[in-house]
Amino acid sequence: MDFTFTPDQELLRETARAMFAKECPTTLLREHMTDRSAIVPLRKHVREFAGLGTGAASDLCVFLEEMGYVAAPGPFFASAVLAGPLLEAIRHPQLEPVISGEAVATVAIAGNSGEWIPNAETVKYFVLDADLADWIVILESGPSVRVVPRDRVDPVPIRTVDSTRPVFRIDVGDVESESFELSADAWEAWRDRAHTVIAAEMVGTARRLFDMALEYAKERKQFDVPIGSFQAIQHKLADLALALERATAAVQYASMTVDAADADRTRAAHVAKAAAGDAARRCSKDGIQIHGGIGYTWEHDLHLFIRRATASEYLLGPTSWHHDRLADLLFS
C-alpha cells in the first residue's frame, strides 16, 4: 500500500494546477454565467487530458482535484470521465474520438427519482452539458447502453444552483438506436469509479473553500488582531482541515481500490463520496461564516465555489444516499 504520488502524478498535478490557474480564473466563471462561449479557450487546453478519462483512476483523480479547485466549467467530466468508460465497456466506435477530445459525449441515466441507477424510464434528468455534446450515452435497465447523436434529442435546460455545470432533461423514448448489453460487473465498476472521481473533484472544491477561509483568517483583523488568532476560529478551521484530510485520504484509497478492482471497492467509493460531501458542506458553511458579511456578497468569489460544492454533493447521489448504500452493504 502506498499513498504517495508517483513522479508522473506529481508532474500531472503541477501541470494541471498551472494550467487551470492561468486558464480558469474566477472572472471566467462569472463570464460563463451569461456567455457559454467564454469557455472555448479553456476547453482547448482541457481536451488534451481527455485520455485520462479511461486511464488509471488514481491519475484521473489527481487531475479532477485540480479541476474542482477552480470549479472549471466544460464537458470534460461528462464526456471523458462519465461517458468514456461506458463507451469503452461496450467497445463503441465513438470511444476513440471521445477520449482524444475530438467529440463530446454525455450520459443520461437518472429517471424521475433522480437516482443514478439503470432504469426503464424514458425521460432522463441531470444530463450534464448536453448542449455541447455530440453523443448521448443512455444507460438503461438490463443494464444496457444506447448511444445516440445529440441532434436526435432535444435537451431542455434545468435551472440549477451551479452555472458551471449546466444540466438538462431529455426524452429518449422515441429515439431508435442499437442497444448494447452491459455486464453487471461493468456497471458496478463504472458506478464505483464515477463515485470516486466526483468525490475527487469535490475534494478540490472543498480545498479551495478551505484555503480561502484560512487565508482570510490570517489577514482579516478585528479587535486589532487577526481573526485567526481567536480560538473559536482556530478550532473551526482545525475541524474543517480534519474533514478535508479525511475526504482526501478516502478518495485516494478508493481510487486505488478502483484501479486494483479490489473487493473493498464499492464500500470505499461510497465512503469517498460521503466523506467528500461532508467536507464540501462544512467548508461551504463554515467557510462563509469565517468570512463574515463580505462572504455573503455576490461580488465575493466564495459563492462560485459554494455553488459547485453544493451541486456536486447532490450529483451522483447525495451524501445520505451513499450512507444508505453503505448500510445496505453492512447489513447484507
Binding site: 500500500m1 502506498d2 499513498f3 504517495t4 504520488f5 508517483t6 502524478q9 488514481s58 484560512l214 483568517a217 490570517k218 488582531v225 487577526p226 485567526g228 488568532s229 481567536f230 480560538q231 476560529i233 482556530q234 478550532h235 478551521l237 482545525a238 475541524d239 482541515a241 480534519l242 484530510e245 479525511r246 475526504a247 482526501t248 485520504a249 478516502a250 485516494q252 484509497y253 481510487s255 486505488m256 481500490t257 484501479d259 486494483a260 479490489d262 464500500r267 470505499a268 461510497h270 465512503v271 469517498a272 460521503a274 466523506a275 461532508d278 445520505s320 450512507h323 444508505d324 453503505l326 448500510a327 453492512l330 447489513f331
Partner: protein, 391 residues
C-alpha cells in the same frame, strides 16, 4: 499510489501472523482493554508480563528497534503492518505503555550511556514505569508544573505533588518532570528526573477511575533525595523532552483506535439486528455514517504513515488522536441508543448487553482528555499545521 503491499512486506506479515497464531497465549486473543482490565491488585496480569517478555525475546516487541531492544530493524511500513495484525486479533503488547512507548524512546534520544542501559528492561516490561507530568494545577498547561527539585552538590531534593499518574502504585520508577529554576520563564526551568519509587518520602495514593477501578494515583513527594546522575538531558532542559515524549506516545496509537472503531461499528450492526433496528432507516444510516468515519480515518492514518515512511513529518498524525478519540465517544453513544431504555442498566440479570455500552462510553471519556485534550489538539493543528497566529 498502489493498493498492494510489497512482497517483502507480505512476507513480514506472514511471519508475524504465524508467530502470533502459534505463540500468543489464549488470554491474549480478543483481549478487551476496556472490559477485562483487572482490579487494583493486578493491573498487569502474569500471563501478559510473560507475553511482553516473549515478544521482546523474539524481536516482536518494537519491530523497528534492533534485536537487543526487542526488535528486528523493520521499516515504518512494517511497523504499520505489525500494529494492524495485533489489533486485528486484539492481541495486546502490554497493558502498561509508559515504559516502552515513552521512557524508552526518550532515553534513547536524550539519556546518557548509563541511562540507556535502563531501556531494554523498560521495553521488555521488567521495569514498570510511571510518567509524572500532570499536577493538580498543571494539566493542559504542563509547563505550569510546581513540583520543586533543589540541587545540592550531588543530589536533588524533590517536594511537590503529581496527579493522575497511571500505574504509580505498581511502578518501580517514575519519569518525573520537576521545576529546577523557579526564577526562569516557565518553559525554561523544568528538568526531567528518574525517580525510584521506593525512595523515602514518596507517598502514592491510588485514585479511582470513573469506572470504579484504580490504575492511576496521586503521588506526593516530601524531601525526596534523587541522585544527580538521575537527571535526564540538560539541567533546565526538560521542556524539549516533554515535546518529544508526547510525540512518541501518539505515533502508532491510531492503528489500534481505528481498528477498535471499525470493530465497534460491526458490533453496532449486530446489535441493531438483535434489537430489531436493522430495518430502521435512521439507525442504519447512522451506523453507516460511523463506518464512513472509521474507514476514512484508516485511509488518513495510512496516508500519514506513507509520508512518514518517506521521511516527511506527516501532519496526518496530529489529526488522528483528536478524530479517533472523539469518534470513540460517538460510537458507544450510538450503541447505548440502540439498547433503548435498558442502556444505562448494568444489572446482568437483564441481559448481557446491559452495561457494556454504557461502560465503554464512560471509558471513552478518558481519550479526549488524557495525552493532550481534544481542545489542545485543535490548538496544535491550527497553530502548528495551519500556521494561524497565536494570541
Amino acid at each position: 499510489m498502489q493498493l498492494a503491499w510489497s512482497a517483502q512486506d507480505e512476507a513480514f506479515r506472514a511471519e508475524l501472523a504465524t508467530f502470533l497464531d502459534t505463540e500468543a497465549p489464549p488470554e491474549a486473543h480478543g483481549y478487551d482493554f476496556g472490559e477485562s482490565r483487572p482490579d487494583e491488585a493486578s493491573i498487569i496480569p502474569d500471563w501478559l508480563r510473560a507475553w511482553q517478555a516473549k515478544l521482546f525475546d523474539n524481536g516482536w516487541m518494537i519491530p523497528a528497534y534492533p534485536p537487543e531492544l526487542g526488535g528486528r530493524n523493520s521499516t515504518p511500513i512494517q511497523t504499520l503492518i505489525y500494529l494492524e495484525e495485533l489489533s486485528k486479533r486484539r492481541i495486546p503488547r502490554a497493558t502498561h505503555f509508559p515504559g516502552y512507548a515513552i521512557v524508552a524512546p526518550s532515553l534513547l534520544e536524550f539519556g546518557n550511556d548509563e541511562q540507556k542501559k535502563l531501556v531494554p528492561a523498560a521495553i521488555r516490561g521488567d521495569t514498570i514505569w510511571c510518567i509524572g507530568m500532570s499536577e493538580p494545577n498543571a494539566g493542559s498547561d504542563l509547563a505550569g508544573l510546581q513540583t520543586r527539585a533543589q540541587l545540592f552538590d550531588d543530589h536533588f531534593v524533590v517536594n511537590g505533588q503529581k496527579v493522575w499518574t497511571s500505574y504509580a502504585m505498581i511502578a518501580s520508577k517514575c519519569f518525573c518532570y520537576v521545576r529546577t529554576d523557579p526564577s526562569a520563564p516557565k518553559h525554561r526551568g523544568i528538568s526531567l528526573l528518574i525517580i525510584d519509587m521506593d525512595t523515602p518520602g514518596i507517598d502514592v495514593r491510588p485514585l479511582r477511575h470513573i469506572n470504579g477501578k484504580a490504575d492511576f494515583a496521586e503521588v506526593f513527594f516530601t524531601d525526596v533525595e534523587v541522585p544527580r546522575e538521575n537527571l535526564v538531558g540538560e539541567l533546565n532542559g526538560g521542556w524539549m523532552i516533554t515535546q518529544g515524549s508526547l510525540a512518541h506516545e501518539r505515533a502508532g496509537l491510531w492503528v489500534d483506535s481505528v481498528s477498535r472503531l471499525e470493530q465497534t461499528v460491526f458490533a453496532l450492526v449486530d446489535l441493531a439486528k438483535r434489537t430489531g433496528h436493522d430495518l430502521d432507516p435512521v439507525a442504519r444510516r447512522r451506523i453507516a455514517e460511523k463506518y464512513e468515519l472509521a474507514a476514512s480515518l484508516r485511509a488518513l492514518g495510512y496516508k500519514g504513515f506513507a509520508s512518514f515512511a518517506q521521511g516527511s513529518s506527516a501532519p496526518e498524525h496530529s489529526y488522528m488522536k483528536m478524530a479517533t478519540s472523539e469518534a470513540g465517544k460517538a460510537v458507544f453513544e450510538l450503541g447505548m441508543e440502540l439498547c433503548g431504555p435498558f442502556a444505562a442498566v448494568t444489572d446482568p440479570e437483564l441481559g448481557d448487553e446491559n452495561g457494556r455500552w454504557v461502560n465503554m462510553f464512560f471509558m471513552s471519556f478518558a481519550n479526549t482528555i488524557a495525552g493532550g485534550s481534544s481542545e489542545i489538539q485543535r490548538n496544535i493543528i491550527a497553530q502548528r499545521i495551519l500556521g494561524l497566529p497565536r494570541k
